[in-house]
Assembly symmetry: C2
Homo-oligomer: 428 residues x 2
């Protein structure tokens, strides 16, 4: 990779998500050379992907060009690359566009969908971790309605309009709420010749409550909101398989469905070279110490979802969410500079800013440290926080315009099949 060597130490960051971007910003005006590698040329605001899947927002408004984030930073280089391997002995990364030496390496490669080894589910279900995946899901949902119009087979039509979301975390809950609003507001107008009562939205949750990471009150209220919207919540049930037609569970319960969204878990997106057992812990994450150093290394770090940093409150590691990623990115920026100057680093301490989820129009749940609240006000807070954290003034404006429009008009206009979804299973 033709990046000039200067007298500055070179920090290579793998991944331009919340963690990688927070770190890059922190290093922006320092005497270091930074090379950011990502397989996309954009940063994705993952918390709003479900709105892309459901036609509420255009994909371009929740993505931001990485080059633009870095544009005023001297000594910064971005390269569009897949990292194949980390060579910890020779201090270099191997990518599809060549090798790159590093003085310091920060792995911020995030997480990917965890199918727990079930390749049938992986093949037939939809995930919602990236923009292309969300666009595929949007296409599939819309194509299923179009197909439902064509069939005269009741069971077939039923399956085409039966949505199964596996996992009752924030992703599953927010997607279910959005689908319920589509059922109520869009379907009867767009498809007057379809019996929209057939559109069923199911959440299957393996434990006894949804939004497990949040307070009992938030969980109960979210459940209440969802049920009022007509979403079926199936608790204490585990999905065992999905063959493209039938969802089977660990009980007698089965679902005939053409649209299964797998939101039941994520795991660290590890990279070869740091995959040995000594580095990896629960959830396929890289074990790090309080300075985000990967076990056994002084100059190799991991931050964000890929990093497993345990403390008393989170013995299995900090939650895989935006906040720990951003905070670790900031802190590591300071710490790397200290390390370069041979000063002692500061241990990371997580400031839990709470959690929130939106269920639909005027309906959200918010857990702050001191206050927990649900309903309309929580919904406004949710919107404000998401607009605030979105990168870029244009993106904020476009999202804001869409939200105001959708709110006033009970509408979602981005219901376009721009990327035809190729079903990998043929329905009879």
């Amino acid at each position: 990779m033709n990046i000039p060597r200067t007298s500055y130490p070179r920090i290579v960051i793998i991944g331009g998500g919340f963690a990688g971007v927070a770190l890059a910003k922190k290093l922006s005006k320092q005497e270091v050379q930074v090379v950011l590698l990502d397989k996309n040329n954009y940063h994705t605001f993952q918390p709003l992907l479900y709105q892309v899947s459901t036609g509420g927002l255009e994909p371009d408004s929740i993505a931001y060009p990485i080059r633009k984030i870095l544009k005023d930073f001297p000594n910064f280089y971005f390269r569009l690359a897949n990292v194949d391997k980390i060579d910890t002995k020779k201090n270099k990364v191997r990518t599809d566009i060549g090798d790159l030496k590093f003085d310091y390496l920060v792995v911020a490669s995030g997480s990917k969908t965890n199918y727990f080894g079930n390749s049938e589910i992986e093949k037939h279900s939809m995930a919602m971790k990236t923009i292309p995946q969300s666009l595929n899901l949007r296409s599939l949902i819309l194509e299923n309605f179009e197909e439902a119009l064509l069939t005269s087979d009741f069971n077939e039509r039923n399956a085409l309009m039966n949505f199964v979301i596996v996992g009752g975390g924030p992703t599953g809950v927010e997607l279910a709420g959005a689908l319920a609003e589509i059922k109520k507001g869009i379907l009867p107008k767009d498809y007057p010749d379809l019996d929209t009562r057939l559109a069923q939205i199911n959440i299957i949750q393996s434990s006894d409550c949804i939004l497990k990471g949040m307070s009992e009150k938030a969980s109960a209220k979210a459940e209440d909101f969802l049920e009022k919207l007509g979403v079926h919540i199936w608790k204490n049930i585990r999905v065992t398989n999905y063959d493209g037609k039938t969802v089977t569970t660990n009980t007698d319960l089965t679902f005939e469905s053409a649209t299964v969204v797998w939101a039941a878990g994520v795991k660290g997106a590890t990279i070869k070279g740091l995959e040995a057992e000594e580095f990896i812990t629960r959830g396929n994450r890289l074990l790090v110490n309080d300075f985000n150093q990967v076990k056994g290394f002084n100059h190799i770090f991991a931050i964000g979802d890929i990093a497993c940093m345990a403390n008393d409150e989170f013995p299995n590691g900090l939650p895989m969410m935006a906040q720990p990623a951003i905070q670790q990115g900031h802190q590591l920026g300071d710490n790397i500079l200290k390390l370069i100057e041979k000063q002692p680093m500061e241990p990371f301490s997580y400031k839990d800013k709470g959690a929130m989820a939106t269920i639909g129009r005027n309906k959200a749940v918010v857990d702050l440290k001191k206050f927990k609240f649900q309903g309309v006000f929580a919904w406004y807070v949710w919107m404000f926080v998401h607009l605030f954290f979105l990168i870029g003034f244009r993106n904020r404006m476009v999202v804001f315009v869409n939200w105001v429009y959708n709110y006033i008009r009970f509408d979602r206009e981005a219901r376009l099949i721009i990327r035809p979804f190729k079903r990998n299973h043929k329905r009879s």
Copy 2:
């Protein structure tokens, strides 16, 4: 196709472009059954596709769900379908979702890129007639810059940054202007380590002026604007081939380029069953009379780009633009109702509202019947007219926000490679 037969006559419209939608709107509250067929579930505002290709607008803001256009119309049906054949004997259309009988048929299938039989050019060049094509072009442009960073071969880098636009009509001119602004405003910031002087934008025009359909003054001024923006205009030169690396012409001139956009011509998108010589005329269009009736039929019509209606002013048929399409759609709506009621139809007469093209920031050319003007005011007129004709309040707002932002910030933020472009030729 399971569409109920009622006592109303059934009008089948093939295509939801400007012509098809204008006709549908006209028929909205009449005693007819209307079935609109399109291979996409959205209407595309084609005049702004070049802004999608160049990252100025998100694709979703220039597309509009067809079902939403039809939602308040009783007796309207939309089906997502590819029409394979028209059976003029049995009065039915054959589609990939089944057959459909019609009482009246309106072919509004538009136009497609005309490669004049050159399959090499078709294989290697980019077109810009649809949203997926525009997104592919956006990806290719951005990927080429990323690739240009990686190569140490000067000729290779040169080719990756050398843009060749074949055709100096509105599409070619507007795209060239937008690329020139990217070269000036975005490239130096996004790619500080690239010599952006290498980015060359070429228009190749077979005749002796660009914007041939417009006034001499507009053409000359557009040329002047483009040259000030650094675009090279090559006149009286015809492209003979492009093998994925080299553009050859009917002169000694050749271009090494990784990005060739073919904007040199369109032809009618005919459908089997109406492809015999007796129906087809110049430009692969369906010959129609003043009532838009296809030659030899009383109840089969063609409107928009696919229809060739000649008059004294336009002996080769009306221009393939939005205005004739919209006007024919409106008029045919009235005429079909008259035909049903056995009243005489009104012959179509084209009201030429003029033409316009934008070259860039503060630079446009406008030809109205009585006034012809160029420059800043023309640019405002261009923007106003395009916002006005865009369907949907949300789309207008989102486009407006983007334009204001792009204007103030000299920026284009949708420069995202969301749809990785798979090159069908491998560069060495």
